[in-house]
Subunit: 454 residues, 2 copies
C-alpha cells in the first residue's frame, strides 16, 4: 500500500491533544446499541398512537427562540455572527415545533420528534445531565374536545415509562389554572405570579422553610400570604380522590372561577385516564410548578422512585405558542422525554445484570479459510452471502489463524463460521461451524452451495 | 378547557414572522417517511458488512477542525464565544471520527455514522445542496492487509447505490499516488501539487481549456507542463484494462516509483472488486482529484447518470488523520454518502410514480362509535388495543360523523375500523369494518372480544 508524504502540516510541532467539548459525549458502539433499543421502544409507542415523525434544523433564527424560556434563555448557545442571519442552537423541540406549525400553516397534527437539543448548563454527566442531549417529544396540536389530547399524552408517557422497564415511576400533575387560583386566593398580586411559581418550582429540591424564606425575603410576600400558599402546596394525592375533595362546594379552590374550571378539566382528564388504565402511577400535586413561560393548562413531570436523576420527562399544554409566530393560535399539548437519563439507567441496569455484553456487531457469518492466499476467495464467497441478505465478514488479515477466527466469533457472538481450504474448493464443498442459535444456518448452507455450483 | 391569559408579551405589537434559517429545511411527515426508508436501506448494507454505529457531538473544539479542509475551512460554522471553550459545528463526519479514534485509543474499528453536518455554502435547495445536511459514513480504521478495506468500502458503496434504486451510477476512482506521479512526470514542482490538484478537481464542471488557463495564467505553470498534465487527465476507462495499460513497462507512470506503487495498489483492489462482483459500475479516471487535504491513497466519487445533482458519494484513504490528534497513526479508509441528493431523487421518483401518497401515519385501527357520549368508551377500547401492540386511534371529536371516520381511514390507508354504539355495548359486540389488507384483523377481533368480556 502506498503511503504518501502529506504536505507539511501548518504546526507540525504542536501535536493537538484530542478532546471532546465539555458536557458532550461520544456514543461508543455498545452505547449506541442501548440508545437504539430505547428509541425503538419509544417510537413504537408513538406510532401505536398514530403519530407521524418530523424533523427541524438544529439551529433556528435567534429571534424565534427569544422570549420563550424566561430566565433560562441565558443557557442558549448562540452561533457566531459570520455575516447573514443571526442563529442559535435549539434549546428544546417545543418552540421549533410551534414555529414548524406556524410556517407550514398546519391546523392539526399529532407528531413525534427525536433530536438533540443544547443548553449551556453546568453538566453533571454521571447524573445524565449534558450540554448536548436528546429529547423525545410527542405533541398534539389542533382544536379538539377538551382534555382528550391531554389525556392521551399522559397515557403515552406512562406506556413509555412502563415499556422502558426503568422501575417504579410517578407522574406528578398540576394545572396552571390551579396554581394561579391558589396564588390569587393566598393574596399574591398578579404581577408576582410567575416569580412565586419559580420559587414553588424549587420545592422538589428544597424544604418549605427555604422556599418560604425566598418568598418573604427575596420576593417581598407578607408572611401570612406565604403561609397561605404553604397550606396549598402540601396538597397531593390520588388524583380522582383529591380532585373531588377540592371540588367540594366549600373549598376555596372550587369557589374561585379559575380554580373551578381547572378542577373540572382535571376531573374530566383523570376520568379518561382511568378508562385507559393509566391512573395508577399518577399523582395530583399542587406543588408542581414548571419553569417555562409558555404553559397555559395542565402541566406534568415524571420521576423515578429511588433514582437520583431528577425528572425524566415533563410537559404540558401551551395554547398560545404557535400564535406567537403566526398570529393564529393553534392549541397544543405535549411531553418531552429526557432520554439521556434513561440511557444512564439502562447502562447501569446492564452493568448490574449478568455482565453479558451488549452485542454491537450483528454479523451472522464469518467466512474463514485454511491455508494461504485465499483472501480473494473469501471475499468472493462473502459477496454471495451479502447478495442473499446475510450479514457476513471475511477477515482483513491475509491468512488469519483459526484461533483468531474462533476468538472473533466468540467475542462478538457470531453464530456461524464458513470454512474452506484448497481441498474443500477442489471438492466443491465448505464446512459450516454452528455456534449457539440456528437462525440462518439453512440459508447460509444454501447460498454456499449456490456459490460452489453444487 | 381553561385558557389562561399569558403574561404580557415583551413586544406584543411585534408579531414575529415565522421563518426557517437559510439553506435548511424542515422534514414534513411524508419526507420523514422517505428519509427513514433511505436510512433503513443504507443501515442494512452497513450492518451486512459487520459495521457498528457510533455518534459524536454536533460541535467540536474549533482546533479539532482547523487545518483539515484546505480552502473549504472558510465554510465552517463557528459558535459565538460565550465564555468557555471555542467551538464549531462539524463540517463532515470524517474528522470527528478520527478525533473519536484518537480519544478512545481505538486500534481498529469498522463503523458507520449517520448525522447532520454544516457548511456555510451557497445553498441550491432544488439540487439537494443545503447548509445543514445528512452524511452517511462508513469507515474502516486499522492496520490490515493492503487494499482489502479499500475494496470493501467501494463494494459497500455500490451495494447501497444499487439498493437505493436511483438509476445507473458510476464510481470514478483514482489514487493520490497516481496524481502525484503524473504531476511529477509532467514537471510540476512539488509545492504546486495541491493547487494544481484543485484546478484538476474542476474538470467535472469546466472544459480542459478553462482549467489549462487557470494552471498557466493563475498558477504559473509553463504551457508545456500544463499540456503534459492534459495528456494524463484524459485517461479514463474500464479499471482492470486501463491499469494493465498503465502498468506496461514503457509507460511513464509505471516507470515512476510512486506511480508504480499506486498502480499495483489499484490492480490488487480491482481484482478484489471483481471477485465481489462490483467492477461493473467502476471507472478508473485520472482526472478525479478531490479537494480535501487529508487523503493519502485511493480516492473515489459516485455520480448518477443523467441526474444533475453532482456527486452523491465520495471518499478515500486517509492514513495520517488520526495521527494528527494522537501522534499515533491509525490507517483508515471510508466513504460519505450525501443523502439529501438521494432524498431529492426519491421524492422526484415518488412524484413521477403513481401519485399514491407516502403513508406517514401507520395507524392500523380507528375506533369509532355511533351516537353521542361514547368518547371515553372509545378511549377505553383503544387502550386494550394499545396493550396488545396494535396501532389505534379513537378520534378527538366528541361525536365524530361516520363520513369523517371513513374519510380518515381512506386518506391514511387505515385498514380497520372498530365500530360500536349503545346497542352493541349492551349486546357485548363490536362491528369490525375491514379495508384493504388483512394484517391484524384476527388480533383486533380477539382483543375486542377480550375487552367485551366475550
Amino acid at each position: 500500500m502506498v503511503v504518501l508524504a502529506l504536505p507539511a502540516h501548518p504546526h507540525p510541532q504542536a501535536r493537538r491533544k484530542p478532546k471532546i467539548p465539555k458536557g458532550t459525549r461520544d456514543f461508543l458502539p455498545e452505547q449506541m446499541a442501548i440508545r437504539e433499543k430505547a428509541f425503538a421502544i419509544i417510537v413504537s409507542v408513538f406510532k401505536k398512537h398514530g403519530a407521524v415523525a418530523i424533523d427541524t434544523p438544529v439551529f433556528e433564527l435567534r429571534e424565534t427562540l427569544m422570549g420563550k424560556y424566561g430566565e433560562d434563555s441565558k443557557l442558549i448557545y448562540d452561533l457566531a455572527d459570520q455575516g447573514g442571519e443571526i442563529l442559535s442552537l435549539r434549546y428544546d423541540l417545543t418552540v421549533p415545533f410551534a414555529r414548524f406549525v406556524a410556517v407550514h400553516s398546519i391546523g392539526n397534527i399529532k407528531r413525534y420528534h427525536i433530536g438533540k437539543v443544547y443548553r449551556r448548563d453546568q453538566p453533571q454527566m454521571t447524573r445524565g445531565r449534558f450540554r448536548e442531549f436528546f429529547q423525545c417529544d410527542f405533541d398534539i396540536a389542533g382544536a379538539y374536545a377538551p382534555m382528550v389530547a391531554d389525556a392521551e399524552i399522559i397515557k403515552v408517557l406512562t406506556e413509555i415509562l412502563t415499556d422502558l422497564q426503568l422501575g417504579k415511576f410517578e407522574v406528578k400533575i398540576n394545572h396552571r389554572g390551579l396554581l394561579d387560583a391558589m396564588l390569587a386566593i393566598a393574596g399574591v398580586p398578579p404581577q408576582k405570579f410567575r416569580p412565586i411559581c419559580s420559587a414553588i418550582d424549587k420545592l422538589d429540591k428544597e424544604p418549605w422553610e427555604i422556599v418560604r424564606q425566598e418568598m418573604v425575603v427575596d420576593k417581598g410576600l407578607p408572611e401570612e400570604v406565604a403561609d397561605a400558599i404553604g397550606r396549598f402546596v402540601v396538597l397531593r394525592g390520588e388524583p380522582l380522590e383529591l380532585v373531588q375533595q377540592l371540588l367540594a362546594p366549600d373549598h376555596p379552590l372550587s369557589q374561585n372561577p379559575m380554580g373551578k374550571a381547572a378542577l373540572d378539566d382535571l376531573a374530566a382528564m383523570f376520568n379518561m385516564l382511568q378508562a385507559m388504565g393509566a391512573l395508577g402511577s399518577l399523582t395530583l400535586d399542587l406543588s408542581l410548578a414548571r419553569g417555562l413561560d409558555y404553559y397555559t393548562g395542565v402541566i406534568y413531570e415524571a420521576v423515578l422512585h429511588g433514582a437520583n436523576v431528577g425528572s425524566i420527562a415533563a410537559g404540558g399544554r401551551y395554547d398560545k405558542l404557535v400564535g406567537m409566530f403566526s398570529g393564529k393560535d393553534v392549541p397544543a399539548v405535549g411531553v418531552s422525554i429526557g432520554i439521556e437519563r434513561v440511557f444512564a439507567i439502562m447502562e447501569q441496569q446492564r452493568a448490574a445484570a449478568s455482565g453479558r455484553p451488549v452485542r454491537a456487531i450483528e454479523t451472522e457469518v464469518l467466512v474463514a479459510s485454511i491455508g494461504n492466499g485465499l483472501q480473494v476467495r473469501r471475499m468472493e464467497l462473502c459477496a454471495s452471502l451479502w447478495a442473499a441478505g446475510i450479514r457476513a465478514e471475511f477477515g482483513y488479515k491475509p491468512n488469519p489463524k483459526m484461533a483468531d477466527n474462533l476468538g472473533f466469533c466468540h467475542e462478538n457472538a457470531v453464530p456461524y463460521m464458513v470454512l474452506f481450504g484448497e481441498d474443500e474448493l477442489t471438492r466443491g464443498v465448505v464446512k459450516i461451524k454452528v455456534g449457539p442459535g440456528l437462525g440462518c444456518a439453512y440459508v447460509c448452507m444454501y447460498v454456499c452451495a449456490l456459490y460452489l455450483g453444487v
